[in-house]
Point group: C2
Chain length 250, copies 2
């Protein structure tokens, strides 16, 4: 299984703490990593086919505070597709003049729908194929960027068709909101005022969020497994889709 990390915030926030927690799990997930940051409508994507433990790119992400409202990260253990840069999540496509960022954890069996539209996979993973299919179907269902709730309705129709083929934990963002779909393992958490301290489960790192936030800051974190001890992480139900806007589930 790969590991996912998502962040949705009402104010640009860095993910150095959470990404450090994710990267400690990279021993078992050594087949590359990637992280995409929305900054306004722009996207900054760092990918490396080396483990997040050793990669100098991962080191930069852990130490350079990139402030973003929407982040999607992934560390990979290859199930389908070679270990290669083009198979490294997250994947990015443009539709309606916006970037869309997607990462998937799981394994889809026998899911190779015909792609007749404008989106084609560059690599050979089931995940990128599924992403291209989602983008194709979104492009058919709407004429331009739909409102967040409308897009949620369309995804609620599309995602069960994927989930039926196997494990489909997923994160998707267009910079305005972050959609998370649970299948076998996905957790979420909201951090807001009054902020406390949190400690990573896998590494001896503690952050006192009260000292680095203002009372109006709010951040939702989504991760395959809870990254911290003593915080109220909640599990997604199988097939549950949640959309996060301004740091909270909607």
């Amino acid at each position: 299984m790969c590991q996912l990390l998502g962040m949705n915030a009402n104010t640009p926030t860095d993910v150095m703490f959470s990404f450090t927690g994710l990267a400690t799990r990279a021993d078992e997930h050594k087949d590359g990593f990637g992280i995409g940051f929305f900054e306004g409508k722009g996207v900054r994507l760092f990918v490396d086919e080396h483990s997040a433990r050793q990669s100098p790119v991962a080191e930069l992400v852990k130490t350079y505070p990139i402030h973003s409202n929407q982040v999607i990260a992934h560390i990979r253990k290859a199930t389908q597709g070679r270990v290669a840069l083009e198979n490294t999540h997250p994947f990015v496509r443009e539709l309606w003049g916006r970037y869309w960022v997607f990462a998937h954890n799981g394994d889809l069996k026998d899911f190779r729908p015909r792609l007749h539209g404008q989106f084609r996979p560059v690599g050979d993973t089931d995940s990128e194929h599924a992403f291209c299919w989602i983008m194709q179907e979104l492009a058919k269902a709407h004429a331009g960027v739909p409102a967040i709730d409308e897009l949620g309705c369309t995804l609620r129709e599309l995602l069960p068709q994927l989930h039926r083929h196997g494990t489909f934990n997923m994160l998707l963002s267009n910079g305005e909101a972050l959609w998370a779909h649970g299948s076998t393992k996905l957790h979420w958490l909201v951090r807001q005022h009054p902020f406390g301290a949190a400690s990573l489960r896998d590494e001896d790192v503690t952050v006192n969020f009260a000292s680095v936030t203002t009372p109006r800051d709010r951040v939702a974190v989504i991760a395959t497994e809870p990254l911290t001890a003593h915080e109220p992480w909640q599990a997604f139900a199988p097939g549950e889709l949640r959309v996060f806007v301004d740091g909270a589930p909607r």
Copy 2:
């Protein structure tokens, strides 16, 4: 004027030396930088809206040897479009299951053709608009990835239509070849056996290529202005299009 740097090689090669030369010119070109590396069909894109002089991302690119056959880099001095991540070159799109990377130096006046196809700009630069138009027209002209020479024929029809609107120095790659179009200022150079030493014009850095190459290595470098002293840089004629394959012009 922005500054462009392109590299096309017959063996995966790092561009730390040339990028260091480019980054020294970032004092005047402080509105962001970007660099895209093809690794097989995959693309690794580093962008930052900070100057390549100060950016930790640029520091990584100068010190982490990323080996690639096709590189396109750009340092930006904004003429059209705000200083923002979504306006930072190079731009990337997917077509026919391949990534396409594009960077532009210049300024197109009154060039806003209607985009009726699948490619829309995310930011507000003339450059990204021109790139979307090129991709749209390529998608209309071919049913799948064309051979390099066929693609060159199509570009020879398309690019004069852009050049007519202003300055259009451009680099474009799909990972197989690198197309360079000269307008006002663009130079190229091939380094091959027997390799010598080269010194950056703007910085006290010298590399003896003979010690880091094999006799069959060949690298073409394309840059707005010659990056090194005492090497036979050649200027592009206005309107000249060249395609570089395996480290040499074709």
